[in-house]
């Protein structure tokens, strides 16, 4: 099975600013991928490149084994829910469904109708008068009724209240459970991703800082604390991600594939959020499979 998303030295420049650079990434198909990173880290840029809204300044990007080229056959395989879920305010819910049906050869009218009924949306209501949660749900309906092989969502829940957010994510989970679909979902709310995603990609300052299976990430990271010690003197197979020292004590977040046997350390498991936050720190060392060197700093 080809990768859902594969990039090679991908870069995107806006004017003089590189929103994304040297981004090499392989995301397996059939996964729910969480794309995290702070604002301005390049998440939207990467997703726009993936759905063909944007063109790379350098490097290549392929979705579902096919280089992104904006062809109709490829567009029909990828569903996209853009940030702030844009809809046509003057068009009704029904109009949006007709629009989806008119623009997509693989349109699943039954799925779309059922979803609208389930959400209790009035088909004649204009999209401009829908609540934020309803708008997001309608945008998700459009993207899913297209029956894509890859569903890309850019911060779909960022502006929703907690209840609407939960409803939206439940809809998304239902869809992924029922249909064989790969999902790439960006968010800066790590808690949401933790429940939903089984693969994680972390962007920082336009580069991939971390990418990997969520379970593997959890298994390979440990927080260790003990008497103060220089982190350079750790065994070679323990990679320090984050360290903090007090006068007498050191606390380290390390990545290792082997058990930590030093009895001086107190070893604790970490959450995905801990890992993400550690890698998001500006001084963090990248660990995208240990292969992405950080350029030009």
């Amino acid at each position: 099975m080809s990768a859902a998303l594969a990039t090679r030295r991908l870069g995107k420049r806006f004017g003089r600013r590189w929103a994304l650079s040297g981004c090499t990434l392989q995301v397996p198909a059939g996964r729910v991928v969480g794309l995290v990173g702070s604002n301005g880290a390049g998440k939207t840029t990467l997703l726009h490149l993936a759905v063909g809204l944007d063109e790379p300044s350098e490097g290549t990007i392929a979705v579902l084994g096919e280089e992104v080229a904006g062809a109709s056959s490829q567009l029909s395989r990828v569903g996209f829910v853009a940030q702030d879920t844009p809809l046509y305010p003057a068009l009704s819910v029904e109009d949006h469904l007709r629009l989806g049906a008119a623009l997509n050869p693989g349109w699943d009218a039954t799925l779309a109708r059922d979803r609208v009924r389930q959400l209790a949306l009035d088909p004649r209501q204009r999209a401009g008068t829908l609540s934020g949660g309803q708008r997001a749900q309608l945008a998700l309906t459009l993207a899913t009724a297209k029956r894509p092989e890859l569903l890309v969502l850019d911060e779909p829940v960022a502006s929703l209240d907690p209840l609407a957010r939960r409803e939206f994510l439940r809809s998304l989970m239902e869809f992924t459970a029922e249909h064989a679909v790969s999902v790439v979902l960006s968010s800066h709310l790590i808690a949401d991703l933790e429940r939903l995603c089984d693969y994680l990609v972390l962007l920082a300052e336009g580069q991939v800082q971390l990418a990997g299976d969520a379970d593997e990430l959890l298994a390979s990271h440990r927080r260790i604390s003990g008497p103060r010690r220089d982190s350079a003197r750790l065994p070679a197979n323990q990679q320090v991600v984050e360290e903090s020292h007090t006068e007498r004590q050191s606390t380290l977040l390390v990545r290792t594939d082997e058990p930590i046997i030093d009895p001086a350390w107190e070893v604790a498991e970490v959450s995905l959020e801990d890992i993400v936050l550690a890698y998001m720190r500006p001084d963090a060392r990248p660990a995208a499979d240990g292969k992405a060197p950080k350029a030009g700093r």
């Binding site: 004017g15 003089r16 600013r17 063109e55 490097g59 990007i61 109709s72 567009l75 693989g106």
Partner: protein
Amino acid sequence: MTWVAWRQFRTPALVTLGLFVAFALLVLLTGLHLRDVYNSVGGAHCDARGGCTAVAGHDKALAQVLQPALLVLPALLGMFWGAPLLARELESGTYRLAWTQSVTRRRWLLVKVALGGAAALAVAGLASWLVSWWYAPLDHLNRISLEPTHFSERGIVAIGYAGFAFALGVAAGALLRRTLPAMIATLLGFVATRLAVTYLVRPHLLAARHALLPLTFGQGVGLLAGPEGITIYAGAPTIPNAWVLSTKLVDHAHHTLGSSQLHDLLARTCPTIAGPDAQYGKGPGFGGSAFESCLHAVSRHVQLLVAYQPPSHYWPLQALETAIFLAAAAALIGATAWRLGRRPAPRPAVGESSQRAERPDAASEPGAEIDAPLVLLPDERRRADEGS
């Protein structure tokens, strides 16, 4: 895609249709009445003093509204139909919805442009036909159909103007990505192009005719006090339904006469008018009959050389100018579609990505990548060979 294009165009189309029906009714009813007046005074054989004035003065207020109506209509179509076509999608972010369906951007653009453009051409054509019909009696009397003010507001040129203004609006929207600036740019660009074509291009589209006319008393010929003394001045003569481009006073060898030569000639031929003792506007030589006989004497040496577009050039000029504007419209749409479509990604040479020392901190502008340009990538010029 056709349904989508129509659904998005429906509201502006219906608003325009409503306004247009009201406009057409007004023109038809008053136009029929104008014809009654025209026929009642004998049509083209009207009495120049009484009857013709009645026709010319009829509905003067409406006549003054109809004339500029056709002047502004193409600009309005460009501003309200053309400019928002892309700019509104880019401005409101809905392009992210529209362009991630299964239809390529080029097809999306071309279907929308075909629908809006065809409607713009139809509206302009009908409006121009209505106005031309309304004015027909007056034009018959005035016989100035090739004058710039009349030429642009009759016949078929408005179709070309509307197509061009619409395409200009679409292109401006793609470039500026905001509706209001795109509308303003469309207006300014359209007015500038219209003026430039009218005064710089149209006179040269077809070779002008030349005619030698005698100096005739009462035909715009007069005296002028210049720095060299009193000389003859010749205004544009009246040639029915022609457009006089330039007039020159020449001798029998067709050499242009300068004002000092004219003064010398005048002083020799009519010393009472232009002799060393004569003063401009004073003395016995300035009476009507004295001037007339002087002019008669001078006209043996001086003729009026007129360059003009003859009435027979009316329809060829209309067709040429329409074609020019429609070709410009097609070029604008083609350029916009080309820029909008995807081009294959440039492949970096090995090691190229390491020479980016100038890269500023990518995280300095939170969220800024959302507003960054998506369509216009000046450094990427290769064409896509995209599928259907």
